[in-house]
Symmetry: C2
Subunit: 314 residues, 2 copies
């Protein structure tokens, strides 16, 4: 299985720079005081479409040959990848076909349509999503861009940690959420190349702990009935992602739902920024004292900020 | 009545720079697209204590003679000025006495105490607040620092607009919320000195429209039973503030509660930052089309980000 190297991340970065936001790294004296470490938050909630997903999608779309691109791109997603792929396709002037479950929140459907994608609805099951996507691809000839189990997507996601490590030196730890593993595998590639002594620690909801079980169990275990407020982390680890993570990630810890909400609230109240529950999972691990941060410099990847204001957990 | 000049704002800026955050100016392509102007948001929600108030309080506290400072500072406030004065006093190593109504939200009381101030409770009436403050000042000899009707506080608040105009050239309009008028008077002094052709437009909730009535009525009308979700703008315009505003502010418009909530939601959803309702009042004026922004460059001062997450209007 061919996996991206740091050189692929570097090339991805040059390729996507004209399209992405260079997101800020923020810090908060009060969070440092409360938790006892020195934290650097990489704010992908300020990325275009409100999540890091735009990086990987842009890299994948940009790399298509003109022949492939002509027929458009396709995916199934009810989340940030759908919007990311739609905007990346629009930026290249090609079609995007997005299969969405028919129970998707209206706000997400509107966002994807707003970026110009064609939305195809299906039953809200994985089987229906995959079958519908296959039909769309068969009919249109569009190229499927998987949200995380994709070489070019992973290389694109690695640019988040690359920017973080370029801006902040001497990080002892980088904390990263894990769902399908796109962000985590890219982060691990970048950090281990740029700063091998930095520990890459993945953080996962206990209610969706397939990465934890796979990492320590020595083989890929799928997610079974995952349940967590961190709706970006419900997916199962991809095969390509797993093969990278088992080599380059140092540790995976799991966190409770209560800690996720507490960490999310801390970020909102202290930093005055909006992050989605998935983004709060790394800080939740610190809140739970699963990670020793005393006198350490900790990079935290805030993956996105797309949250339904009508359904806040506060 | 002696009023601050731009030179006072410049001196205040040098004086407070070691203490304040240089807050960012953010923009949002989607808000530009929705509203049809080019907006530059000056983010005082990222200021220390979460609001611009820290600038004025720091300037006033720093300017006290050692003799005056020794006995501490005092104010009555249930809002951002209380926390601002408490932190400014702690930074100088002096006492702060803050009179707060006994129905203040616990979170605000904790914040003020957290910055080391002594909190004195009173009945929740203006009369009780003023009498209690007088007693505290008589007893302690502390210097009263008024939240807005104060020369040095106004000069400090003017540094927000100074930073905005230094960072963004060619602004056609600057929009600023108005409550007691500290921020608006400082903003008007700075903008009219730095960029006289820029229109300074104050925005006020229709439910607390004393500045609007005073500005167009030709004399100071107090606030009568003000009622608005923008809890930072309930206060009546100060005399010193009024004398500046009537000379240097170009226009005052009022907005509905519905528009304030809509604008607040737009800022949260599109910019992924947390602002308090008072901060959304300027953009509410654009939402209501009270201000023509077409093809214009508009500076918007986001005054603060302290909002109770349990009581959101969404």
């Amino acid at each position: 299985m061919q996996v991206p190297t740091f050189s692929d991340v570097e090339k991805a970065h040059e390729r996507i720079k004209p399209f992405i936001n260079l997101t800020p790294v923020l810090s908060s004296i009060s969070i440092n005081n409360i938790l006892g470490g020195v934290f650097f938050f990489k704010c992908e909630n300020f990325q275009k479409v409100g999540a890091f997903k735009f990086r990987g999608a842009t890299n994948a779309v940009t790399l298509l040959s003109d022949d492939d691109a002509r027929k458009g791109v396709a995916t199934h997603s009810s989340g940030n990848h759908a919007a990311a792929l739609a905007l990346a396709a629009r930026n290249r002037g090609i079609d995007a076909f997005v299969v969405m479950p028919d129970n998707s929140p209206l706000i997400k459907i509107k966002a994807v349509k707003g970026y110009g994608a064609e939305v195809i609805f299906c039953e809200p099951t994985l089987q229906a999503r995959e079958e519908t996507l296959k039909n769309v691809v068969d009919k249109t000839g569009a190229v499927e861009i998987h949200p995380y189990n994709n070489f070019n997507v992973i290389a694109g996601q690695g640019t988040v940690a690359k920017e973080l490590a370029e801006e902040v030196e001497g990080l002892d730890i980088v904390l990263c959420p894990v769902g399908g593993g796109g962000l985590l595998s890219g982060t691990s590639i970048a950090i281990k190349a740029m700063s091998p002594e930095t520990n890459v620690v993945a953080c996962e909801p206990a209610g969706a702990d397939d990465a934890f079980r796979s990492f320590y169990g020595g083989r890929l275990f799928p997610s079974l009935n995952p349940k967590t407020i961190a709706d970006g982390l419900l997916t199962s680890l991809g095969t390509l992602n797993y093969s990278i993570i088992k080599e380059k990630t140092d540790q995976i810890v799991t966190v409770s739902e209560e800690s996720i909400v507490e960490a999310m609230r801390m970020i909102w109240e202290r930093m005055k920024i909006i992050v989605e529950p998935s983004s709060a999972v790394p800080l939740a691990a610190v809140v739970e004292k699963k990670i020793d941060v005393k006198n350490k410099r900790i990079g935290v990847i805030l993956s996105g900020g797309n949250v339904d204001l009508e359904k806040l957990p506060f």
